[in-house]
Symmetry: C2
Subunit: 189 residues, 2 copies
């Protein structure tokens, strides 16, 4: 296993700080202090503050896009596709808790890459919506307010990063299963 480069370390530490205070409230001097160096030294490894954010967010957005493409083109039924989407979010979120905070809260501070990010997000949501709709068409999914349904499931999955770290010993497969149960079958007896 290759050890982390200094650049990767800076990006990882930055993501952690961004999660705590948000991109705008974290200064390069904050980041330098967390790295144990002076702010100017950061620039031996990274191009700009903006570039750190871009790296964090775009790589995550692409991971989601790739995952969705695999799921969408599979021949599973719609409920199974939803379960796969839940697994995808649990997997990515648990592997990059801090980055997910930036993805959710700081995407608007992307500058040149903002349009590209929004395109990826829109495409992702469209794929999700289409899965729901074909589930409704096939009778697998109840036919009410597919937009509310999509909003409810997607915001739960997008907020996983806030919650996963609180249970250190959590079993990720078990979490996926619980989420599937709750999001799809509901909570009533």
């Amino acid at each position: 296993m290759k050890s982390e480069t200094r650049q990767q370390e800076i990006i990882r530490v930055a993501a952690k700080l961004f999660k705590e205070k948000g991109y705008s409230a974290v200064t390069m001097r904050d980041l330098a202090k967390a790295m144990g160096m002076k702010a100017a030294s950061l620039y031996n490894h990274i191009k700009s503050k903006q570039d750190i954010l871009k790296t964090i967010i775009i790589s995550l957005a692409q991971e989601f896009t790739e995952g969705m493409q695999l799921i969408q083109s599979s021949d599973a039924n719609c409920i199974d596709k939803l379960n796969k989407i839940i697994e995808l979010h649990v997997k990515i979120s648990s592997q990059n808790i801090y980055g997910m905070a930036s993805l959710n809260n700081d995407w608007m501070h992307l500058e040149e890459k903002l349009d590209y990010y929004q395109q990826l997000r829109d495409d992702y949501e469209n794929d999700f919506r289409n899965i729901l709709k074909s589930g409704i068409a096939s009778g697998e999914i109840i036919d009410i307010k597919s937009d509310v349904m999509m909003f409810s499931i997607l915001t739960t999955l997008r907020s996983l990063y806030m919650w996963i770290p609180k249970k250190e010993d959590i079993n990720l497969e078990e979490l996926s299963n619980s989420l599937s149960q709750i999001l799809i079958k509901g909570i009533n007896n």
Copy 2:
């Protein structure tokens, strides 16, 4: 109907800007420009930038606390209490979409009032958890992972502000009902 004071107008406009870029990224000069005045003039009406944020967040947090106290002390069954909580979130969120963004994303920039806010939030979550637990005990609610259940429902409700404005003509009662159906009974047929 009393017309809005200049102070209230500033707070309302600030909340809108905070939603778009986050508290830290909005400058007093941004806010002044949106108000059609110079930054210094804002201080005829408000105490500080910090104080604007405090006003936005704390008043909302107290609204939720009061609503929860009413629900908790009612004699409805647990499922009905959950439905009431859903209504509460729909009502408050639709009346103050911009403020809800600050409540969700900028609470960490509260300074003196941070502890107070966190206390309110913890209490709210405890009340919610207790409702779920007694629903499980009474057999109204399925007995799996009450923490995942709570996370799922609460993050959906907390994120309503992102989504409500997109449907201008939305019927709020209808939205509450759809959410109740989806969050409680699930989406499968």
